[in-house]
Structure formats: C-alpha cells, structure tokens
C-alpha cells in the first residue's frame, strides 16, 4: 500500500509516455477535457492508489464484460494492472480461503479508504439464501464490505434497480444496493452500462477522490443527465413525424424514428447516443432497433419492448391503456345514449309532472 498509480505503473514497466497517454484518456473519459490532463497526471503521481473491492452478487457478469471492452484499452489495462483490485470473484487468481482472507485484509487495512464496486442485486427473501458466498448471504457480505467503504458504486441495472431478477414477481426478493446500505451509492445503471461510462465514473473517483454530481436517482449527471431521445440522431425524423411503421418497411430503410416501434428513448436516461458502444461503433438505435430502456428501473416490467406504452395490467398482453380507455369511452357513450332514450320515453310523464307542480303552486 501507500504507492501511487504512477510508481506502480513504473514497476510494471510502463513508460512515462504511456503514463501520459493513460492520463489523457482518463481525463477525457471522466469529462475533464484537455485542461484536466495535468490534474489527472498529478493526482496519479501523488495520490495513494485506492484499494478496490468488486463484489458479484445476483448478476450475469455483463457489466464486467462491458468494462473490459472500454474504448481506451490502455485505461482498462492500466486500471486493472495498477488498481489494488483486491477482491473480485471473476478476475482474481486467489480462491477459497485465500480469497476470503484477501477481502478481510483489504477491509481492515484500508478502513474508510477503499472503493466498493457492486455488480448484481441482493436477494433478501427467505433469509437471503438465494445468493451465498463462502457460507454467507450476499446481504451480510454487502453490509460488512460497505460499512467502511469510502464510496460504493452500483454497477449496472441489477445493482442500481434490480433489473431482471427484480422483475415481477421477483421470487428472490432481489433488492438494489442503495436500499440496503446507508451511505450514498453511485448508480451506474444499464444492462450492461456502457464501458466508457464505467471508466469515467471510476476515473472520477480516483482522480478527484470524490463522488461525481448525482441526480435524484443517484446517477452521475454527466452520463445520465439526458435522455437517449435528446441526443438521438433520428430525432429530426421524430419532430417531423416520420416514423417507422413496421420493421421491414421503406421507412425503416430510410432510418426514420423508431418511436412507433416501441423505442423507449424518450423515457430513458443514458449516454448511448453520445458515447455509443464498442469503441464508438454504434448503438442500438443506429443499428435499427429501438431502445428498450435498459438503464431505467423496472424496464423488464414495462414491456412489451415493441409497444410504446406498457400493457395494461390484468387485461392481457395486447391491451394498452388506449384499449381500456376506448372500451370505457364507448361504454360511457352507450350508457349516455341509453339514458337519453329512456329520458325521451319518459318525456311525457316528466312534462306532466312539471305541469302538475305548476298547477299546485299557482
């Protein structure tokens, strides 16, 4: 411990040039811009590199998979090389008791200084038996690890909002991290989150040693401040009312807006249309498929994916609020019409009644 990132890079044989490249990439990814390079370099030279614990609970490892595909490989390599990634089930060499020891050592030696990255939701039903590591429940491990952490990051939708295992009926009681730990959690939702966004968040933590600005749902504003829809290159088609009507029509070929095909871009906060995926190659909408809202809480339950609004609960898969509304509206019209008919049948009687009353009074 006690080493800076730069000195540990030197030990691993990185050149000063590579170090500067790394700093430049890190500054860009974290959104500091060119002016930030010097700041990043100085932080990496002087600051002690923080210990990192990466927990895996109820998840599919797509977040880890995404992370190692960041578009600046040097950042990933360097981070994985130089971070004290003391515990991560998927990438560490140690196993069994050795691994457990490494975890407890990290916690005791770095009290209040280490960073916890959590991938996966935590099952709370039936005493937490649905996810246990080394005989302990995920929840108890999380509590131990999070207690003395400097920062807790929830990787992906599982940790941020429960994702697929929290989808109805949520048999394991899968719960997002922020509901379980009593310190601020940085939510980085997405299924998976964009690699470069993950890099950006980690770099921000490392360089500035503080939590980035978060929105009301605990997501870094930098990356989750705008909707996919606001930065989508198909947006002019949306405003012009040019929509794809079916997957294989002429409009799809022309690249019109996918709104009517159920695109969830208008209700999804993510950086997909700006940062894109796989080294900036493309993102779902660019590849012709609508956004499914993977970074929004409950997106599995807001389906079907190819429908603008969710099905109406209790009325079958195909019925939207509009179907139900139309039925109610038509029923009302019918009721009103029937009422009008009855009124007119009774018309004579009513008039007679009124006259009878007039008679009485005058």
């Amino acid at each position: 411990m006690g080493q800076s990132i730069w000195s540990s890079m030197q030990q691993k044989g990185y050149s000063r040039r590579e170090f500067m490249q790394f700093c430049a990439a890190a500054a860009t990814v974290a959104g500091f811009g060119q002016a930030g390079v010097a700041q990043v370099a100085s932080a990496f030279e002087k600051k002690e590199k923080p210990a990192v614990i990466w927990m895996h609970f109820q998840e599919c490892t797509c977040c880890s998979e995404s992370f190692i595909r960041a578009s600046h490989p040097i950042v990933v390599d360097a981070l994985l090389d130089v971070l004290d990634l003391n515990y991560t089930e998927t990438l560490m060499a140690a196993s069994g008791f050795q691994a457990e020891k490494s975890l407890t050592d990290t916690i005791t030696k770095n009290k209040g200084k280490y960073i916890v990255l959590v991938e996966g939701a935590v099952p709370t039903a039936d005493g937490g038996v649905y996810c246990m590591i080394g005989g302990k429940t995920a929840e108890s491990i999380l509590q131990t690890v999070a207690k003395d952490a400097a920062a807790v990051v929830a990787w992906g939708s599982c940790a941020s909002n429960g994702c697929v295992q929290a989808a109805k009926p949520n048999p394991t009681g899968a719960t997002p991290i922020y509901k379980l730990v009593d310190k601020p959690v940085i939510n980085v939702p997405g299924c998976p989150p964009i690699a470069d966004v993950m890099m950006g968040v980690v770099t921000h933590l490392l360089v500035l040693g503080q939590v980035p600005a978060l929105d009301s749902q605990g997501r870094p504003k930098e990356f989750y401040g705008r909707r996919v829809h606001d930065t989508c290159y198909r947006r002019p088609n949306y405003d012009a009312g040019l929509f794809v009507e079916s997957w294989d029509d002429e409009n799809a070929r022309k690249g019109y807006c996918l709104y009517k095909m159920g695109c969830k871009g208008p209700v999804t906060y993510n950086a997909c249309s700006v940062v894109k995926w796989n080294e900036g190659t493309s993102y779902p909408i660019q590849s012709g498929h609508g956004c499914i809202g993977c970074s929004e809480a409950g997106f599995w339950d807001n389906g079907p994916f190819y429908q603008h609004l969710a099905s109406f609960p209790g009325f079958g898969i195909e019925s939207t609020a509009d179907t139900v509304g139309t039925v109610v509206g038509v029923a009302t019209l019918a009721g009103v019409a029937a009422h009008a008919v009855v009124t007119n049948i009774r018309k004579r009687g009513v008039i007679a009644e009124v006259h009878a009353e007039d008679q009485k009074e005058s």
């Binding site: 749902q217 606001d230 002019p236 603008h308 609020a321 009124t343 004579r348 007039d358």
Partner: protein
C-alpha cells in the same frame, strides 16, 4: 296563451304544451371570470386530449417529404405544451376565484359539508340515474353531486399537471417543470409517469362525455337554463308564491 285558460294534465289525457303561468326570478349565477374559465378550460382540455392522444399514437402522414422540410409532430407537441400552460394558469385563476367569487363559485360548493348537500346528492342520483323524482328543489349553482364530482376532476387536473410537468422537465431547464420532478421516482421512472399521464387521458374523455350529456339533461329536466347559464351567466329560479 291567455292565462284564463290553463289546461291541466290529467290522468290519461295527453299533457298540453303549457301549464299554469309560474313566475321565475333571474339569478346571476356564473360571473364573468367563471364563464371565461370554463371556456378556456374547455378549449385547452380538448386540445390537450387530442394532441396528447396523437403524441401517444402518432398518425401516419406526409411521408413524402424529408425530415428537414416538416415539423408536424413538433407542432403537435408544441400545441400540447402551450395548451398545458394556458390550462394550468387558468385553473389557478379559478382556484383563486373560489375564494373571492360569489357563493355559487365558492370552494365550499365543491364539498358536501352540509346535511342538505348530502341529501341533494341522493336526490340528484335519483333523478339522474334512476330517473325517478325527476325534479324538485335542485340547487341553483352546482348541485351537490356535480360539485363533488368537479372536485374529483380538480384532483385529476392536479395529477395531470404534476405528471405533465414532470415529463416536461426532461426537456426544459426552467424552474416550473423542475418543481414536479419528485413524482418521477414515485411512479417508477419516466415510463411510469408517461403511462399514468396517458391513462388519465381517458378519465378526461369520459368526463367530457358525461359532463356534456348531463348539462343537456339537467337543462331539460330542470327547465331553467342550465346550458345557457354558462354562456350568459343567468339561471332561473321558481318564485314560491304561497306557503312557506
């Protein structure tokens, strides 16, 4: 028709066109601000429902042009947002009038706080739903049932305003929409907000149908200018000549 020849409806005879002459008093019920509120609200609400529906299910049109040549969906949304602002401020003005206006427009008319109001609710249900007891002393202003239903409608207005502005906050930096952000996590994200906002459209559609019908129906059974009162402001009350 000469007053001396009243024709009275008897048991099996056909009712005749005129009963006894009865005196009516003219009462100024809906003051100008209330009438203006009503019609601005009506126009804005219809605009909101139509444009809102189109936002949810855009119709197919003008597919010949390129995107830069047209902006129709943008205009639909623009009308929705403009109507929304008009509708909200108009509504606020009406709330204010509920405290300074005449007794018919007072906030108290919307809650069945008095016994007589609760009795009237029963009477009106008898008249409207079962079509028995077709007339009798129904309030000159809002009848108690109508008043209470309008209160429910006001709550729906409020809900629609909150969810609408919460949706709007993602496309605006101004403080007004941002004040309603808090609803987003409560409804499970923007998607949930949109879902509920959309669903309430149908409440308004149903309300409009029933409201217009009942206005005509009461105009008919009460026979004292229910429909015209929201245009001119006057209703007519039977003058009790004898007794009481």
């Amino acid at each position: 028709m000469p007053m001396s020849t009243p024709v009275v409806a008897t048991g099996n005879a056909t009712p005749v066109p005129n009963g006894q002459p009865v005196e009516y008093r003219r009462i100024y019920v809906w003051e100008m601000p209330v009438r203006v509120y009503h019609w601005i609200n009506a126009v804005a609400l219809v605009a909101l429902c139509v444009t809102g529906y189109m936002i949810g299910a855009p119709i197919r049109m003008f597919y010949a042009a390129e995107a830069y040549q047209q902006y129709w969906f943008g205009w639909v949304r623009f009308i929705h947002f403009t109507a929304a602002f008009i509708y909200v401020f108009n509504f606020l003005a009406r709330l204010y009038w509920g405290f300074v206006g005449n007794k018919y427009s007072s906030w108290a008319a919307f809650f069945p706080l008095k016994r007589s109001q609760r009795q009237e609710i029963v009477d009106v249900i008898k008249a409207d739903v079962f079509e028995v007891k077709m007339h009798g002393p129904i309030s000159t202003g809002h009848n108690a049932l109508a008043g209470f239903i309008y209160f429910g409608t006001f709550l729906a207005f409020v809900f629609q305003t909150i969810t609408g502005f919460a949706l709007y906050s993602s496309m605006s930096n101004s403080w007004l929409p941002r004040m309603f952000n808090w609803i987003v996590p409560l409804l499970g994200g923007d998607f949930g907000v949109r879902f509920w906002h959309h669903l309430f459209l149908w409440f308004f559609v149903t309300f409009i149908i029933v409201h217009i019908y009942l206005a005509f129906y009461h105009d008919y059974i009460e026979g004292r200018g229910t429909v015209s009162s929201i245009i001119g402001g006057w209703k007519f009350d039977r003058v009790e000549k004898r007794g009481k």
